[in-house]
C-alpha cells in the first residue's frame, strides 16, 4: 500500500466516523492551541516589554558607569553620589579600555528650579557631552542639539524636554528664550521629542540638557561625574569591554584586591532581559500545561485507536485475507493516528494563533505570528500521532486473520 493511499484511506475512515474522530482530535487541539497561544502571547509580551524598556533607556549598545558600590540604590545624582568618577576617568576609558567606541560624560541633579519670566517649574538637569543625546537616542523636535563648540565654549545653552515647554512656555516658541536654571541664565537652543512615561509611569520629559562643562563650572561647581556612558563595539557580548573598563578604573582609583570597586557598571540590555524574563516564566508554566494537555490528547488517541482495533478485527481479517501484509495493516493504523493528530494539531494552531492575535490586539500588544512555533506544533502533532498510534497499530498488525474472520 502506498503512503498516499493509506492517507486517503485514513481520511475516509475519519470522515465516516465523525464523532470518534472529534474526540480523538480534541485533546491534541486543546494542547496545541494552548501551546501556540502561550508561545505567541509570550513573544508578544516579551517584545513589548523590550520595546518599552528600549524607549526608556534609549539604545542597548551602551553601558552606564556610576560611582559607588552596587548596593547604592536609585538614580545617581550629584547630591547622592560619591565624588569618585572624574572627567579624566571618562577620558581614560575612551583611550585605554578595549571594545569601547565612544564615551560620554554626565553630571546631573534633580529638582532644580527653572524660571522663565514669572513662571517656575522644577526639572532634572543633565550636563552632557555632545555625543550623549545621540548615544541615548534622544531626538530634537525643533532647534539644535548640544554641540562640541558649546562644550568647548562652556556655553550657557539648554535643550529642553516637552514638560518644560508646557510648564514655562504656554503658547510661546521657546527657541532663543532665556531661562534661569538655579540663578544662571541659559538660552533655549532646542526642544526634545517626547519620550512618554517611564517605568513607574512618571514622565520622562521633565529634563533639561546643558553642556557638561557649563554644568560643572557655572552651575554645580563640582568636578566629578554622576554617570559615564560608554558605547560598546560588541553589545551582544559586553563582558570583555566591561572587564576592560573595570581594570582601567580600578588602576586609576588605586584599588587592589580584595578591595571592592568604587563604581558600578550597569548593562541596560541585561536589565531589559531580566524584565522580559519575568513575564516569560509565566509562559514556561503555561507551556508545561500545554504539554500535559497534549500527552492526555495522545493517550485519548491511543485508547480510542485500541478500541477501534478491537471493533475492526473483522475488517483487519478481511484485509489480511485479500493480501494485506502485517506492514500494510500497521501502516494503515499508524497513518490514521498521525492524520487525526495532525488535523487536530492544525485546528489547534488555527485556534491558538487566532486567539493569541485577538488577545494581543485587545491588549494593544503587537500581534506576533511565530512560524517556528507553528512548524514545531505541526511536527509535535505528527509525532504524538505516531508515538501514541504505535501500540494500537502493532496490535492491529498482529491480529491473526483466521481468528479475526471466524469471530
Amino acid at each position: 500500500m502506498r503512503i498516499t493511499q493509506a492517507f486517503r484511506l485514513a481520511l475516509r475512515t475519519l470522515i465516516r466516523n465523525p464523532l470518534r474522530s472529534f474526540f480523538m482530535m480534541l485533546g491534541i487541539t486543546v494542547g496545541i492551541a494552548s501551546l501556540t497561544a502561550m508561545a505567541s502571547l509570550g513573544a508578544a509580551t516579551r517584545q513589548e516589554t523590550l520595546r518599552q524598556f528600549k524607549r526608556m533607556v534609549g539604545t542597548y549598545d551602551v553601558i552606564n558607569i556610576v560611582p559607588g558600590a552596587a548596593s547604592t540604590r536609585g538614580m545617581p545624582s550629584l547630591t547622592t553620589v560619591e565624588p569618585s568618577l572624574k572627567f579624566s576617568d571618562a577620558a581614560a576609558i575612551a583611550d585605554e579600555a578595549d571594545g569601547v567606541l565612544q564615551v560620554a560624560e554626565v553630571q546631573n541633579a534633580f529638582d532644580i528650579d527653572v524660571k522663565y519670566r514669572d513662571k517656575t517649574t522644577v526639572s532634572a538637569i543633565y550636563g552632557i557631552s555632545a555625543n550623549w543625546l545621540e548615544m541615548r537616542s534622544y531626538f530634537i523636535e525643533t532647534g539644535d542639539v548640544i554641540t562640541q563648540e558649546d562644550i568647548a565654549g562652556v556655553a550657557r545653552v539648554a535643550v529642553i524636554g516637552q514638560d518644560i515647554v508646557t510648564g514655562l512656555f504656554a503658547n510661546e516658541n521657546p527657541l532663543g528664550k532665556q531661562v534661569r536654571i538655579g540663578n544662571v541664565p541659559f538660552q533655549v537652543k532646542g526642544v526634545l521629542v517626547s519620550r512618554g512615561a517611564g517605568p513607574g509611569g512618571s514622565s520622562l520629559d521633565g529634563v533639561i540638557f546643558i553642556p557638561v562643562t557649563t554644568a560643572s563650572r557655572r552651575l554645580f561647581n563640582r568636578d566629578y561625574l554622576t554617570t559615564i556612558t560608554a558605547q560598546l563595539e560588541n553589545p551582544q557580548r559586553p563582558e570583555p569591554a566591561i572587564e576592560s573598563i573595570k581594570a582601567v578604573l580600578r588602576e586609576r582609583h588605586g584599588i587592589i584586591p580584595p578591595g571592592e570597586d568604587d563604581f558600578t557598571i550597569s548593562d541596560s540590555r541585561a536589565n531589559a532581559e531580566q524584565v522580559a524574563e519575568v513575564s516569560s516564566t509565566l509562559g514556561t508554566i503555561l507551556t508545561g500545561v500545554a504539554v500535559i494537555a497534549m500527552i492526555i490528547g495522545g493517550t485519548v488517541i491511543m485508547s480510542l485507536m485500541l478500541i477501534a482495533v478491537s471493533e475492526r478485527r473483522r475488517e483487519i481479517g478481511v484485509r489480511r485475507a485479500v493480501g494485506a501484509t502485517r506492514r500494510d495493516v500497521m501502516m494503515q493504523f499508524l497513518i490514521e493516528a498521525a492524520t487525526v493528530s495532525v488535523i487536530g494539531g492544525l485546528a489547534g494552531i488555527a485556534l491558538g494563533t487566532g486567539g493569541a492575535v485577538l488577545t494581543a490586539i485587545r491588549q494593544d500588544l503587537p500581534p506576533v505570528l511565530l512560524w517556528n512555533v507553528i512548524g514545531i506544533a505541526v511536527v509535535v502533532s505528527v509525532g504524538i500521532g505516531l508515538v501514541f498510534g504505535l501500540q494500537p497499530a502493532w496490535k492491529a498488525a498482529n491480529i491473526d486473520p483466521i481468528d479475526a474472520l471466524s469471530s
Binding site: M1, R2, Q5, L9, R12, T13, R16, N17, R314, E315, G317, V318, R319, R320, A321, V322, G323, A324, T325, R326, R327, D328, P401, I402, L405, S406
Partner: protein, 235 residues
C-alpha cells in the same frame, strides 16, 4: 494447480493437549476444476481451507500452489500469494462497513502495489450485475447483492483460484441459486473453484466432491457428465 502431499495439521488446545485436525492428507486439484469440499463441523474442513487459502501453514507435509511449494512460506510471502493468486468468498460476505460497493471491490488492489484501476472495479461490478449500485453503501444492499460485491472483490486481482466458504449459507434459496450460477459462469471462464458447502443441490454444481471426516479424506468422488448437465447447459 493444487498438490497436497501427506498434509498434517496439529493444534494445541488451551491445556496443551495436541489435536490432530488433519491427518496425512494427499490429493490434487487440476487447473479449471470445480471441487466441493464437504464435512461436518470439527472434521478438519476449516483447517484444510485455511491452509489451501494460505492463511495458515501445515504442521508437516507439502502444499504446492501452481507448482510452487508454499508450505514453508513466511507470513509476508503468504500475504503476497493471497493477494495475487487467491480470491476469497465468505459465508458472511465480510464486506467493510461504512464503505461503498465500489470501494469494497477496490480493496485487494490496494495491496497489489501500483495505482488502483477504478474502471476495472466498475467493470467487475457490472459483471456481477451491480453496475448501477456501485456507489451504494453495503448496508443498503441485500444479502445476495452483498455476496455479489464480495465475488467482484475476489476477482479484482485476477486470481486463478477462488475459495468459497459456504457462499450461499446466509442466503435464501433464490439468491443462493443466482450466486451458484455466477460461480458456475466463472468456472466456465476457466477459474479453479473450491467450494465448501453442506447443501446437496449446491454441491451438484461441481464436478468433484471431497468428503472430509476426522481429518482424512473419506471419499473423493467425480460426478458423471449427466449430473453436471445443468451446469454444462449454461456454457
Amino acid at each position: 494447480m493444487i498438490e497436497v502431499e501427506n498434509l498434517e495439521k496439529t493444534y494445541r488446545r488451551g491445556d496443551g493437549t495436541p489435536v490432530r485436525a488433519l491427518k496425512d492428507i494427499t490429493f490434487s486439484i487440476d487447473e479449471g476444476e470445480f471441487v466441493t469440499v464437504r464435512g461436518a463441523s470439527g472434521s478438519g474442513k476449516s483447517s484444510l481451507l485455511n491452509i489451501l487459502g494460505c492463511l495458515d501453514t501445515p504442521t508437516s507435509g507439502v502444499y504446492r500452489l501452481g507448482g510452487e511449494d508454499v508450505s514453508g512460506y513466511s507470513d509476508e510471502q503468504r500475504s503476497r500469494l493471497r493477494c495475487r493468486r487467491i480470491g476469497f468468498v465468505f459465508q458472511t460476505f465480510n464486506l467493510l462497513p461504512r464503505t461503498t460497493a465500489l470501494e469494497n471491490v477496490e480493496v485487494p488492489a490496494l495491496y497489489r502495489g501500483g495505482h488502483i484501476d477504478v474502471d476495472k472495479a466498475r467493470a467487475l461490478l457490472d459483471r456481477v450485475g451491480l453496475g448501477e449500485r456501485s456507489g451504494h453503501f453495503v448496508t443498503e444492499l441485500s444479502g445476495g447483492e452483498q455476496q455479489r460485491v464480495a465475488i467482484a472483490r475476489a476477482l479484482m486481482n485476477d486470481p486463478p483460484l477462488l475459495l468459497a466458504d459456504e457462499p450461499t449459507g446466509n442466503l435464501d434459496s433464490a439468491a443462493g441459486r443466482s450466486i451458484m450460477q455466477l460461480l458456475s459462469e466463472l468456472h466456465a471462464e476457466g477459474r479453479t473453484i473450491i467450494l465448501v458447502t453442506h447443501d446437496e443441490p449446491t454441491a451438484a454444481y461441481a464436478q468433484r466432491e471431497l468428503l472430509i471426516r476426522d481429518g482424512v479424506i473419506a471419499t473423493d468422488r467425480r460426478q458423471s457428465a449427466s449430473q453436471t448437465a445443468t451446469e454444462q447447459a449454461r456454457r
